[in-house]
């Protein structure tokens, strides 16, 4: 049976982007987020947040939370640092009241922004093999402080 609209729990949807050294699967990410929430807020707090990973494609994702717990959810996402020993950080793109809003307003905008040709002045380009899930493997920074490090790294890659 449907819940009465007035009794429905109010939710918010948070669009985020995952930056990681290695590919992170959906299961690993949701596990890590729930771990982080448990260690920050305990069972009671996590229950109140009512979090759920709704979608995740290897790079972008949407997480659900209670309307008045967006700040707590943000803090929990900020505390995710490692998945299987690889460094990870979650960047919240924005919060919306509907899933469609979160997708259209933040994730699609972010993808459009990235696909545009980069400003030539930035000088930030990376060479690397891209996996299916867009995660850059063997990333090399070609504008380093110390030029020797590039030589060393690219040599390692050839091996």
């Amino acid at each position: 049976m449907k819940t009465l609209p007035v009794l429905r729990e109010k939710k918010r949807y948070m669009a985020f982007k995952v930056m990681s050294e290695q590919a992170v699967t959906r299961y690993e990410l949701s596990d890590e987020i729930s771990n982080s929430m448990h260690s920050l807020f305990g069972d009671k707090g996590t229950g109140e947040i009512n979090a759920g990973l709704l979608s995740y494609d290897g790079r972008y994702g949407i997480i659900r939370c209670a309307r008045d717990k967006t700040i707590d959810t943000r803090a929990a996402l900020a505390c995710v640092t490692r998945v299987r020993g690889a460094r990870v950080s979650i960047f919240v793109l924005g919060i919306s009241g509907t899933i469609r809003g979160a997708t259209e307003k933040f994730i699609q905008q972010c993808i459009i922004k990235e696909s545009e040709p980069e400003n030539k002045n930035t000088g930030i380009r990376t060479i690397g093999r891209r996996e299916n899930d867009h995660t850059v493997k063997n990333e090399i920074d070609i504008s380093p402080d110390n030029p020797l490090s590039v030589k060393k790294k690219s040599f390692e890659n050839e091996m």
Binding site: I71, D72, A75, A78, C79, D141, D145, S149
Partner: protein, 221 residues
């Protein structure tokens, strides 16, 4: 207008490890919403020559690690950079807050009303390191949160300036200003205080360190 449409600064970025370049870090920080960073004890001699986005500034920050008696000498030596002392025992904290010219006392574990009063007189800002919340788990984090809560209490009572930083040492440690405010909320800091700790307080310190500044109230225009 949102509180977060402003220029933010992170005044305590560690020298980057794992070959991440300062340039790349600067671009990433800009994307996250920062307008400037200060690098602790930079290995590069000339930070002005590092390529960085338009309008983005990189400053040097010197972390003084000396015995309590030597802090004053160190301050004289590096006067033109942002000066920071990492909180430690009571003697060190005391020497730090009583030293004229110091900018930041980072996360002192033993802080009390006497030290707070001295910090008010010398206008030393109190640093809050959210990096410990991000990276630690369990008992250590509980202790750090406890420390930050008491420090916040003294800062409010004595009107001390607060500095909020994540002390990132790689690209993956960087957090956006909103995330930092959310993390600061865990130990009771309000959003407005957090924004001020990333904007007003750093700007004040940078103003003091600019060439035109002579002393409090005297400035070349």
């Amino acid at each position: 207008m949102s509180l977060f449409d402003a220029r933010f600064y992170d005044l305590a970025v560690h020298s980057l490890e794992n070959g991440d370049s300062t340039t790349r870090f600067a671009f990433e920080a800009k994307r996250y919403g920062y307008s400037g960073i200060a690098i602790i004890n930079p290995e590069l001699n000339n930070l002005d020559q590092v390529r960085k986005p338009d309008g983005f500034m990189i400053y040097p920050c010197i972390e003084i690690s000396a015995v309590p008696g030597k802090i004053r000498n160190e301050i004289k030596k590096y006067g033109s950079s942002i000066l920071m002392v990492r909180g430690g025992g009571e003697d060190l904290n005391r020497a730090a807050v009583e030293a004229e010219g110091l900018d930041i006392l980072m996360q002192p574990a033993k802080f009390n009303n006497v030290l707070a009063k001295a910090a008010e007189d010398t206008s030393v800002a109190l640093g809050f390191n959210t990096g410990t919340i991000i990276r630690m788990r369990g008992e250590v984090r509980v202790r750090e949160l406890r420390i930050m809560k008491t420090n916040l209490m003294y800062a409010r009572k004595y009107g001390l300036r607060m500095i909020l930083t994540g002390e990132p040492s790689s690209l993956y440690d960087l957090r956006s200003p909103r995330d930092m405010a959310a993390l600061a909320g865990l130990f009771g800091m309000t959003e407005k205080e957090a924004v001020d700790a990333m904007r007003m307080a750093p700007l004040e310190i940078l103003r003091k360190k600019s060439r035109d500044y002579i002393q409090e109230g005297v400035e070349i225009l």
